[in-house]
Assembly symmetry: C2
Homo-oligomer: 417 residues x 2
């Protein structure tokens, strides 16, 4: 096919990204962004996006958990559509490009195609997935998990945040109502799904390449641990009598790190990113510690083996220290393989645009991991400075965003023709 000639309005995209970044918890000093699902901040950011979609002439639909679909109708609207998109929620104190580049970049790709005179045969949707980040409910990708059936309605509804609110209560308070089951997508809803995202790693930047075409997405696992010891007054209980839950958890954090370093796969990463001490007072012996392990590998079997070793090591430490331990696997998704037709369309787009590119693996997970269960799926990466993500200094250059949007647009054009 003849690919359209595009003009990406990068300045507009950058302005919109900056505007979106202003929807952040008010205590957060710029440029840090905190935007947690179903908060007032999240709702306001969604309203801003809706305005942009409507200005671009897209038809907007929102499902029962706030997943938002902005549709550019194709000439054969009854055909399965082509989807693009990502998420706009942001973990505490993070940056302004993770996810947002895929949502606003997806919109910009559609606007560039509209402006080029291209007319799609299949409809093209920009999807904004609810809650890719696990910040509030401990599980990531709740929107795409529900859509794809990876999480049942009952499991989703009963997730709880720190304050005890259920997912169901929180989405209702944010204005998203209706039966949760209506958010499940029909198996043929999309003929293809392709997500634009910053790499969140250093490889493209190091190789001075503009585009990464993702061929597989690593398998993440999230495990919740709870250690219960015995509390007491910090002045009164002598050291040999203690069953300190934090000291036990500290040993577990170090054991997890050691097992990850010693793993046979150099790609395996293990992170304890959250750890909460109860009762959490200077002069009180910790009676309970909860922490979460994020374990990933591109080799799903190795990841599962390491997880087994971690549980065994933590159980042994608990036994030696006479504390209780329990664990719960919140998710242990299989890796996803990208659709070869989408990979080739993206490679062709990058070649046409004369952009340096490579095929690569995603070590971070994305909504695409879940979309891959119900549609042929692909991803396009652009570099981010220093490989940094989930930090206020996360940065993608306008040039790289322009390259990503153009590659995405030409990929969508092929998939929607």
């Amino acid at each position: 096919m003849d690919l359209p000639k595009l003009k990406v309005e990068t300045t507009r995209l950058v302005c919109e990204l900056e505007q979106l970044a202003t929807f952040s918890e008010c205590s957060e000093p710029s440029p840090a962004v905190t935007r947690v699902v179903f908060t007032e901040t999240d709702v306001k950011a969604r309203e801003y996006l809706r305005g942009l979609y409507e200005t671009a002439g897209l038809a907007v639909r929102t499902d029962a958990v706030g997943n938002t679909f902005a549709r550019w109708e194709g000439s054969e609207p009854d055909l399965p559509a082509v989807g693009t998109g990502s998420h706009t929620d942001a973990i505490p104190h993070s940056g302004m490009y993770d996810g947002t580049v895929g949502v606003l970049g997806g919109l910009e790709a559609i606007r560039a195609l509209q402006q080029s005179g291209f007319r799609p045969r299949r409809s093209i949707d920009v999807v904004m997935f609810t809650s890719e980040e696990p910040t509030r409910f401990g599980v990531g990708c709740t929107g795409s998990r529900l859509m794809s059936g990876a999480l049942s309605v009952a499991q989703l509804a009963s997730l709880r945040d720190e304050s005890g609110s259920t997912y169901d209560q929180a989405r209702t308070q944010a204005g998203f109502t209706g039966e949760l089951s209506t958010a499940l997508l029909a198996p043929n809803a999309y003929s293809a799904f392709v997500e634009l995202h910053i790499e969140q790693g250093p490889l493209l930047e190091q190789a001075a390449e503009s585009i990464g075409v993702v061929t597989a997405i690593a398998a993440p696992s999230t495990v919740h641990f709870e250690v219960t010891g015995e509390g007491g007054h910090a002045g009164a209980v002598l050291m040999p009598m203690r069953r300190d839950a934090l000291a036990a958890a500290a040993g577990m954090v170090l054991a997890i790190e050691r097992l990850a370093l010693d793993s046979r796969s150099p790609d395996l990463v293990a992170t304890v990113g959250e750890l909460h001490v109860h009762p959490g007072a200077v002069n009180s012996i910790p009676s309970r510690v909860r922490f979460t392990l994020d374990l990933r590998d591109i080799d799903g079997d190795n990841r599962d083996e390491v997880l087994e070793s971690v549980v065994a090591a933590c159980t042994q430490i608990a036994s030696q220290r006479r504390v209780e331990i329990s664990h719960q696997v919140l998710n242990a998704d299989p890796p996803a393989v990208c659709d070869e037709r989408i990979v080739e369309a993206a490679v062709r787009a990058a070649e046409r645009l004369q952009l340096a590119h490579r095929r690569m693996i995603s070590r971070a997970y994305h909504d695409s991991l879940l979309m891959a269960r119900i549609a042929p799926t692909g991803m396009i990466f652009i570099p981010c400075r220093g490989g940094v993500s989930h930090r206020p200094d996360e940065y993608a250059s306008p040039e790289h965003m322009e390259a990503g949007v153009a590659t995405l647009a030409l990929t969508l054009a092929q998939l929607a023709s």
Copy 2:
């Protein structure tokens, strides 16, 4: 002197303690108590106490930080007064006896003396100290520190809580105004101060004794540590590249425990009771961890030596892991020796009441530690079940509280005559 015959109304005291326990953060399931200084809960508890003082005919004065003095005027009101009292703030998820027994028990001792026909020569004050617990501002005994000059007005005003509020802002919002310097007590304000408290340790219960007369209070030290590593996406940064602040802090927690266990003093205790992870997201490598060390010994020199070793060990771990570390000693009070005249008065009171008693050391610290800087000071302990404190199951029996109140009353009668 002839000691008065007393009738302690224990049922009333128990009811008042239970009533006071209802002033707790509303999310707290009974019997756990959370009452943090300068919150609405704290303010309401203070109003409740004021009503009780006024009903007992006491004249109530509140200073610029909320320290409250309820005075039973003596026949020679210009003489230095006798003080008793304790605190009513409660660390998160704690019990209903720590501190409160000294405040409501102090009031009950006065009521029992009033009812006996006793008339004091010196005025007797029940003091409710603001914020004995370090929960909110990291430093314990802020009320008695200010009163006794152990903390300067400038140091106090600039303490900050987690939300960034200063002590000065928080006390003003709670309705306590006026120059902070007016809260300093004159050196001759009290001729004696004696505090009734639960033991917070197991010794009295194990020996089946009702009364502990404290002869010295252990030297506590509170040190704040901050570890700064490098954050990043949990999926993207490979293990050998990481500078994980939590993994470093975990090593430090274990090193602290080891140094305390190996200390030459069996009484040395070291506790990391608070630990906060930043940014605190499941999928984000911890970039910063703050934790607080509570280190105590009845041997002040040994405590200081262990603190030095702890700082050295943490510095070494930080260096090995290429993370930054800083520490700040929030307080390192010298131990206090109780006044022999007060000790003897308390022993005489217990003997008169035919209560099994012992002289003992306090390993927990109290406002008395600070009051000892400006007045002859003593403490009276009663047993608590299993030595448990700072937990919801903290418990002191009505019989032991009655014994404590009666001993306190007869001690006050001697000191005020």
